[in-house]
Assembly symmetry: C2
Homo-oligomer: 330 residues x 2
């Protein structure tokens, strides 16, 4: 299958899954739900959830157990976009060719829609943990608040005796680990965004620029592949190898963003070009010039592809995704 | 012990615990951490964490296992205050007698500090779940990412044989339940705040005003007592009884807030009086007048005290707390 087709299939899976979480009920806060939906379904590339799924697929076929985490990370990503666009931060009017959330609704609604999406991500994770926990306590599924350890042990033994290939305890272990990694990555993303606002109009050291981007963009991209890998129960060596790949494409993604903000096509990008310059932002382009930034971008993508060579044709999609990050026009 | 002394002891416990979570390290995002600390340690009443602890103490003595949840709910409360005070929402300049977060720092920092506190709350919960999970897998504590179900069963059996009074599995069950209730309550709080912004300058039905307050203030207060009760492993009847108490003091708290905003003492309150009127907000005072609001307040506090009569002298503090909510001057 060619890359574009596979990408589209993944995007459709993610969009279909996100749809399930949209709230359509009539309630007083309906417009707030609409505002969350507006940004969530505004046509993003779905890079983060796709990385979760594609990484998982390196090791396992049935991606179902990844879906809540794919949804959660896309919610967090959209929360960050809504807040970054606010007048108090980047003051952007357009995103994905449409008015930004505070332009479409109003500032109060945009602040709260961002808050709501961040919190929704945790609702999704909490719900999945509860679901896995209920599976462990299967005998007690109808009264899931009154479980005792004896029944639990009995259930665990039953699972074992049946030679059930999936250990629910291991499932819970890895999901609690992911909840931790998730909350830490979001913490880093927020720190990165803060540094971005602090660096506006300043010249900064290369290491500080990298520290900013590793947090701002890198943290969630690393989290994406790590969630896919951990959910697929691969080895720690694999987790670290894929983290190295994600670290490189994360930085590459940011550099490409900086390049597009300088020389992209407004019509394709769906937002004005030249804002970084206008705000006197410290970017890879302002620091190394367009050619310097492009050289660094190439180097990172080559490195990322090397990181996953070991998976051969299984990693074809992840390899093409790295190239796509370099070559994308929006 | 008299109420004020006990309240002070609880406040000191909460403040000491919060201190542990403040980040003092030198890093590029240090000012963001300072901004989170600024609001978190600005001298709030600590009502929510104290409700967690005092409810737990109705049933169990050693409050240690409550502390992460007391911290998490206070973080969420402060996140909501920072965002509510923003120019895009209530545009308040003072809180607890000090400049609001965006006045002390700037708007971008305040938005991100609020985001950071919300996310920090989940980091605290995630960390506590990981800790409990590690206890279950005690034999594997040094390699907590590589746990298999056989060891887990062995550990569970050991725990059982030792007649250990605490079942770690039950601990995990109740904490996953709390994570769910927590994220749902925060969702309700955000919805309530949204409705508050929507109702500005409008006359609304009493049922809608109650719906708003049940979400905006009520959701976290209910969550507080529910977390304390669930952690203490009391019966579902107790959980529901205490929820009824919390629902009443939550609404009472909001009505008292409305009254103070109308006739409070600015010096004691630490913020200007009359803002609700100026913004033409729909409150209990604007709807029923001062006397009407006070009558409703009295009725609610009497009802709340009745709800917990069954616990006799054990509930003395919770009873006094209800009276305190009615009589507080800030």
């Amino acid at each position: 299958m060619d890359f574009k087709t596979e990408l589209k299939i993944y995007q459709d899976i993610v969009n279909k899954e996100l749809e399930k979480y949209l709230r359509k009920d009539e309630c007083i806060e309906k417009v707030l739900n609409n505002a969350m939906e507006y940004s969530l379904m505004a046509g993003g590339k779905r890079l983060r959830p796709i990385l979760v799924l594609a990484t998982y697929k390196l090791f396992k076929e049935n991606i179902e157990e990844c879906l809540p985490y794919a949804v959660a990370i896309e919610m967090v990503h959209n929360f960050s976009l809504i807040h970054d666009d606010l007048p108090g931060i980047d003051n952007d009017d357009f995103r994905h060719g449409k008015p930004t959330n505070h332009k479409q609704f109003n500032e109060a609604t945009a602040i709260l829609a961002g808050d709501g999406l961040l919190n929704n991500a945790y609702m999704v994770i909490a719900n999945d943990l509860q679901h896995t926990n209920n599976e462990i306590n299967m005998d007690n599924i109808n009264s899931n608040h009154n479980i005792n350890s004896k029944n639990c042990i009995k259930n665990l033994k039953n699972l074992e005796n049946k030679n059930n290939p999936i250990s629910y305890v291991e499932k819970l272990n890895k999901k609690i680990r992911i909840f931790n990694e998730f909350s830490n990555a979001v913490d880093r993303m927020i720190a990165g965004e803060y540094i971005d606002t602090e660096y506006e109009g300043k010249q900064v050291l290369e290491e500080n620029l990298e520290y900013m981007d590793e947090n701002k963009t890198g943290a969630l991209l690393k989290l994406s592949v790590r969630m896919g890998a951990i959910l697929a129960e691969c080895s720690e060596t694999d987790v670290e190898r894929l983290t190295a790949y994600a670290k490189k494409i994360g930085l590459a993604f940011q550099i490409k963003d900086d390049i597009l903000s300088e020389e992209g096509d407004e019509k394709i990008l769906g937002k004005p070009v030249g804002n970084d310059k206008k705000l006197n932002k410290c970017t890879y382009v302002s620091k190394y010039g367009l050619d310097g930034a492009k050289a660094k971008l190439n180097e990172l993508i080559e490195g990322a592809i090397k990181d996953i060579e070991i998976y051969n044709e299984n990693a074809e999609f992840l390899k093409d995704l790295a190239i796509y990050i370099k070559e994308r026009e929006k």
